[in-house]
Symmetry: C2
Subunit: 324 residues, 2 copies
Amino acid sequence: MKELSKLLGYRKEIKVVDATLRDGGLVNDFFFDDDFVKHLYATNIKAGVDIMEVGYKASKEMFDVQKFGKWKFSNDEDIRKVIGDKNPAIKLAVMADVGRTNYKHDIHDRKNSPLDIIRVATYVNTIPAAIDMIEDAKKKGYEVTCNIMAISNAQEGDMKVALEMLGQSPVDAIYIVDSFGSLYPEQVQRIADLYMEYATKYNKQVGIHAHNNQQLAFANSIEAIGDGVNWVDATYAGMGRGAGNCSMENLLGFLRNPKYNLFPVIQFIEKYMIPLKASGTTWGYDLQYLMTGILNQHPRTAIAFTKENRKDYVEFYKEIVAQD
Amino acid sequence: MKELSKLLGYRKEIKVVDATLRDGGLVNDFFFDDDFVKHLYATNIKAGVDIMEVGYKASKEMFDVQKFGKWKFSNDEDIRKVIGDKNPAIKLAVMADVGRTNYKHDIHDRKNSPLDIIRVATYVNTIPAAIDMIEDAKKKGYEVTCNIMAISNAQEGDMKVALEMLGQSPVDAIYIVDSFGSLYPEQVQRIADLYMEYATKYNKQVGIHAHNNQQLAFANSIEAIGDGVNWVDATYAGMGRGAGNCSMENLLGFLRNPKYNLFPVIQFIEKYMIPLKASGTTWGYDLQYLMTGILNQHPRTAIAFTKENRKDYVEFYKEIVAQD
């Protein structure tokens, strides 16, 4: 049972990470206008958010810069232009995917960059490549996290090898990522215990990045907090791929540290997120995402169903249960 | 930590209660047409749902029968007319509120009624009146549950007295009711442990009825299941007052007992619930409900905000934090 002190007191080590531009960018191909980003940055500072993820460092050889907004690439100069002078109250992070980032070239030394944190995203079978990226980022002076994606499909034995390798690497925090939104809190607890075992051994932090397919993104995040996880991703109005993420407004309503403020979050949602949704940008819990979540499948079929504006949920269910 | 056997195995004592007509009726003043109810009944049977709550037994002296659909009153003859011959695979239940039911007159002997279960709803300060209703229903041959509402505002000492009194009564199951949708899973666990202590002592069952203000209705329900709670309320597409309830489709996707089937639930949602929503009947998670949930307030202000089609969330937040 979780300690009562964790409910009414707070753990000052907890870090809230705003992933709106990065995971939300997967919804609108990163076409956020500068006014949105400027105000998101200002809101995060007012709300006490610890880290803001501004987007991806995607390879410009693999991805056409004409087809995506600038937060897919997160050039240092673009960040500076929009954010202006950096406020030391909040750190800036960027995500770099194994195999989709030209990291040696595109990630510059921290002292020449507005970025503070590199978040390396990997599958469990590409950990050596992830560690090369972690070491590169560390040498350049960054804090580094490693997000192991799609763990609901990984074997526990493989996870242990991955955690041991990451434990021995210079990474600062290792993330539990429920890519398919298929985990129940009881499973998150088991996974968090496993991560915490290695994190304690190697003096690392553990993070969680949840998806809302089963309406459990917030529940899984606070389950993990109760289990010792300190880095927690959230997005405004839950904006993120498919069913979206843990909502910032849910998370800040839960956390008791007086440094966090809910009011500016509500202001930002009313002024920016509700109009964004009203303009036709679609994300969030819906029946098709529940189905892929229950079946522990990648949400790509559900995302296609949503984009095609289909409403034949029964037919969709038949299609996805027939998949190998 | 929850036992792994509870995740992959199942507990045959679990009973799923469909509360769509009753809690959903609070959204549309119980104006469900007969076709909807007939198909809901057939769907529940196909889905393996154990109990279907058909509505309230509201006093016709207190409530104008012209202003509400028939499921506010749930006359035996109305139930029979719509349901037809009773299928023994599912039990029928009705809710009776302390102080709002003419129970001595309107609840007939079970042998003359299609109903099987009377669900007595009470606040913690009206337990003696609830016990009078429980005893009346028991004498008439019914299974009886007692739903203690708004417990997030009750004192633990009062709860213990209430549970002791109910333990000594002939009630069959005692319900945890998160009326304001303000409880976190960690709190549900504590409350479930308290209920289970008295339930074990007096050989009663424990139930849970959750609301989705903080996107935790499903999470709190499965938390409670893991803690030994056996009666679980759910509604199709989460239809229920304000932010709604635990979704049937979430719950049946989680339960592992092969008697439960998700497919007919998806069929019913596509054919009946999505059109109901599209017709303008409004329920479900939204920012105003999150706010009252976080503040542990009755959702009536948020329901009014919704009905007035207001979008000024910031102004609403200012209003409700200014309340005594």
